[in-house]
Symmetry: C2
Subunit: 187 residues, 2 copies
């Protein structure tokens, strides 16, 4: 909206864009203060700035990527991180052919360096892109090295202490959502 030069937006418009109800928008935002004016809607610039602050996106978050197979390489080149406050600050792989290679401005390091490098670089976010059989041990190593948030691409459920946040990228969950509709709303 800001990029399109829109200055004010109503909860109804926000609701339509977000796919929820206007009441939900107003309720959710009210948890964090007063952002809108009755009858005029929300100031786009102000609301965006406040949302960025609330979500903790007003800073850059360095991340460690573990695993440089096809998936890890795709993640390295993913175009959506930087502009939204995230960047990969360290890369690890156990393959001797990959260790020491330069990728962008990073050098691939062996997993044994994780416990040294992560605290040094104040990295609290780890991305797991290793084969499923290695994912849990990598997650354990990340947690021992100070990581508090893990984005898991491996198709297994990771165990982690309750204070560590784990989210899984699971394409099948998305497919299942959609298939439900294909099945129940035949063309």
């Amino acid at each position: 909206m800001q990029r399109q030069g829109v200055e004010l937006i109503s909860s109804a418009q926000l609701a339509e864009l977000a796919g929820v109800s206007p009441a939900q928008i107003r309720k959710d935002l009210s948890h964090f203060g007063r952002f809108g004016k009755q009858g005029t809607g929300y100031d786009v610039l102000h609301l965006r700035r406040e949302l960025i602050r609330i979500l903790g996106l007003d800073r850059q978050w360095p991340m460690a990527l573990v695993g440089l197979g096809a998936l890890g390489q795709a993640i390295m080149h993913y175009g959506g991180f930087k502009e939204r406050g995230f960047h990969i600050a360290a890369v690890f792989d156990s393959d001797p052919d990959k260790i020491g290679k330069q990728i962008g401005d990073l050098v691939v390091m062996p997993p044994e360096r994780i416990s040294h490098e992560l605290p040094k670089r104040q990295i609290q976010i780890g991305i797991v892109a290793v084969p499923p059989e290695a994912a849990q041990s990598v997650a354990n190593l990340l947690v021992r090295s100070g990581v508090r948030a893990i984005l898991n691409y491996a198709p297994i459920t990771l165990s982690a202490p309750p204070e560590v946040h784990v989210e899984q990228i699971d394409p099948v969950v998305h497919l299942q959502h959609m298939v439900y509709y294909l099945r129940h709303c035949p063309q």
Copy 2:
């Protein structure tokens, strides 16, 4: 639970595993019929079979993958599809070096074949793994070829007619969830 030999499960146990409230479990399931018995809980085997049927997962869904860069290759080798009812039945890429190559039991085809191959193979699900600047035109082509569900890996929001379901794999959304907690619950 079934694999572990568990025969009965309570809504409280299901709720804990799913990270929601027991009341939510009971309410959600009640939309589809009566699955549990007051006091004894749910029969694991029966509940699983019913959930599979409700979710439309009692069949194999063929999918078309468009884009065979690092990401597309990772998707080709993703281990989580088959056992959950999905498989890639056709692969497309515009790179002349890739067209005609054999990957598993599939041969890479040029995007011009999409409108012919998808109806022929009754493919209703498309996976978009092309660079962001090509994603919308690929999505349009998929929709014109009969696709009704699109899983989008490109870091852009795709437009599609309302009858086509689009879900986006967006790692940053997951990161933002977690960062909210890192920010507001400092160690």
